[in-house]
């Protein structure tokens, strides 16, 4: 039981879900505006690399967060120009940017650090909630989570409110559902989409920053390992809402945590091979979507370039 729902597993779930949730939030905001951003993976990689680089060179973890975020935003800006202004195929552009990000970060990583890794890098601290120490389970789960884990949770709420309880969120959704209607009432579709794409890059980059500046303290080539794509799936799974995306990320994170905690466990004489344990998060996600979520409808204008008429 401890292995399935112990505080350790649930705490790990939160940690593993965090980078995915960041990417998924990025996905939610950009797709709600009508732009698919398959380059979340690349933005995340940018955040991871430039975050740790900044932490190492400036010695300041908060500054690292900022620079990592900016790096992701810059990459997303390329996507915005290509897909909003040039109306290029958003998927091809995204794939190209993923290749670009892998190339740039791997190149710089090798040029700057060679075969070594930076050491003594300041990392983002955990938020130690000592008053929870005595509380069983809860203390173990959230007593010592990193500030970025908390930031992710806060951002989920903020973005949920932003999207459904603010004027700007209303406009964002209108642009993603019916850009022409938005255009006819004077909402600048392009500008809205630009901001949304930029924000998605920044958010995904925070997921990358979490991986390096909060979680592990070093960068290795391609260390995001597809989390941007998982985030994309979590966004769809969560029906394009921030809270839904978080739930989806948590389910995936839980599967991931299980794949670690169940290592070495045998059921009777049957020992589950470790490689098969690693399939848990993926299968769990498919099962969860098939079982509970089912059909989900993307924003009506998602992925469709908008061209105001007559120009």
């Amino acid at each position: 039981m401890e292995l399935l729902i112990g505080a350790g597993v649930i705490a790990a779930t939160l940690r593993l879900a965090t980078p995915i949730a960041f990417a998924a939030l990025g996905g939610v905001i950009t797709e709600r505006s009508g732009v698919t951003n398959i380059a979340l993976e690349g933005c995340m990689l940018f955040g991871a690399f430039f975050g740790i680089l900044a932490a190492d060179k400036t010695g300041s973890a908060p500054l690292a967060v900022l620079i990592g975020l900016l790096a992701g935003t810059v990459l997303a800006a390329v996507h915005a120009v290509a897909s909003v202004t040039w109306r290029a195929d958003q998927i091809v552009t995204g794939m190209a940017l993923n290749i670009l990000a892998l190339g740039v970060t791997s190149y710089l990583n090798y040029e700057i650090y060679g075969s070594g890794v930076p050491s003594g890098v300041p990392l983002l601290p955990a938020l130690n909630l000592d008053f929870l120490a005595g509380v069983p389970f809860v203390g173990g789960v959230i007593g010592h989570q990193n500030v970025l884990v908390w930031l992710a949770l806060v951002l989920v709420i903020v973005l949920q409110l932003y999207m459904f309880r603010t004027v700007a969120g209303l406009r964002l959704r209108a642009v993603g559902e019916h850009p022409r209607a938005a255009d006819t009432v004077g909402i600048d579709v392009r500008r809205t989409r630009y901001w949304a794409v930029l924000a998605s890059g920044g958010l995904a980059a925070l997921g990358g920053v979490y991986l390096t500046v909060a979680d592990t303290g070093s960068f290795t080539d391609g260390l995001t390992n597809g989390r941007g794509f998982i985030g994309l799936a979590a966004m769809i799974f969560g029906r394009w809402t921030p809270v839904g995306a978080l739930v989806a990320s948590l389910i995936f994170g839980y599967g991931d945590a299980l794949s670690v905690s169940l290592q070495g466990v045998s059921i009777g004489d049957l020992r589950i091979p470790v490689q098969l344990l690693s399939t848990i998060p993926y299968l769990l996600t498919i099962l969860a979507v098939a079982g509970f979520v089912g059909r989900s409808r993307p924003p009506a204008a998602d992925g469709v370039p908008y061209e105001s008429e007559g120009h």
């Binding site: 940690r15 303290g217 290795t220 080539d221 905690s261 070495g264």
Partner: protein, 343 residues
């Protein structure tokens, strides 16, 4: 579509223009060395980057001309090796056990070119090892450095040195294959021999890249009382070390000396001197002392060893480790090659 056609056309035009008459610029040094990495690439924090280090050292010390090619897919091994062979490189080094068949194929076609393969021997199309007169198989006895760092871990745990208070040691591999497991086998052998009461944990990240996964395995092990963590998982292993650092326990590096990854956390490293293997092979080619077939790198020829030992490790333990290394050299200790504790 026109665009692609045009591009392809230009490409061909320019290619035919440049195909002849280049390469003439080479010449110069008489010995040329080519290194072909496996798909892990140069930044793998493991055998590829060490092999490359050996290449660069050799270039500097011997003035040989060198080149490196990173393989992006396993499909690339044969053409990448062939590219160097076609240009009459004097030595073509391949990295990794996944190249055993590729190097067999290419080496058979170029009997006059010398090859070397890190961690493997040429394997024919049936999958059977078939040594060739122009392929040097550079093998390492990973269980040996695994054993030596195991001695340090075992004694630290037994004596409850520093933060090692739970008499539990653990390890993490990238994937469960022999070349990874041999390290762990030696490590566990040492612990079982020296401190039978010490609890041993073991796990896998199932990955060589993903640091976060490695860290989770580490945190999981630490939560079970482990306070000395040994990893053989490339980039993923860095996450395992990060877990130790975050929780204030000890870690052991692998392949290269990883003491500067996390000073104070990494108490020592188990070394596999791939760089030396490459360096020595280049030297042998240059000195016309190249030897095809199995070349073992072990304690005997300093092909393996341990890295810098942190100050937290007491002198007696350090001495014991040195002694273990000596005993392995002399054959008095023969570390096991099979893992005993699987999880």
């Amino acid at each position: 579509m026109k665009r692609l056609l045009a591009l392809a056309f230009i490409s061909v035009l320019m290619a035919t223009n440049t195909a002849c008459g280049n390469l003439g610029g080479l010449g110069g040094p008489s010995v040329k060395i080519g290194l072909v990495t496996d798909v892990g690439g140069l930044n793998d924090k493991g055998f590829n980057s060490l092999a490359n280090q050996g290449r660069l050292d050799a270039a500097k010390d011997f003035g040989v001309e060198t080149s490196v090619t990173e393989s992006k897919k396993q499909e690339d091994y044969v053409p990448n090796l062939t590219n160097y062979a076609q240009q009459n490189y004097d030595l073509v080094v391949g990295v990794g056990f996944l190249m055993t068949n590729s190097i067999w194929k290419v080496a058979k076609q170029f009997p006059n070119i010398k090859f070397a393969l890190i961690d493997g021997a040429p394997a024919n199309d049936k999958g059977d090892t078939e040594n060739l007169p122009n392929v040097a198989n550079l093998f390492f006895k990973e269980q040996e450095p695994g054993y030596v760092v195991g001695v340090i871990a075992a004694m630290m745990a037994k004596d409850k040195v520093g933060k090692a208070t739970h008499n539990t040691v653990c390890s993490m591999g990238g994937i469960p294959i022999p070349s990874v497991d041999r390290w762990i086998a030696g490590y566990q052998d040492a612990v079982k021999t020296i401190s039978p009461t010490t609890t041993i944990l073991h796990g896998y990240s199932n990955d060589f890249v993903d640091q976060a996964k490695g860290k989770e395995v580490g945190l999981n092990h630490i939560s079970k009382g482990c306070d000395i963590l040994f990893q053989v998982a490339g980039g993923s292993g860095l996450g395992y070390i990060a877990a130790a650092k975050e929780k204030g326990v000890y870690a052991i590096g692998v392949d290269a000396d990883q003491s500067d990854v996390a000073p104070g956390t990494v108490i020592t490293s188990a070394l596999k001197r791939v760089n030396k293997a490459v360096y020595d092979t280049v030297k042998a080619v240059k000195d016309k002392a190249y030897k095809a077939g199995d070349n073992f790198f072990s304690a005997t020829n300093d092909g393996i060893g341990i890295g810098k030992v942190d100050a937290v490790v007491p002198a007696n333990i350090k001495t014991a480790a040195d002694q273990a290394l000596t005993d392995i050299k002399s054959g008095k200790i023969k570390p096991k090659t099979e893992i005993q504790v699987k999880g």
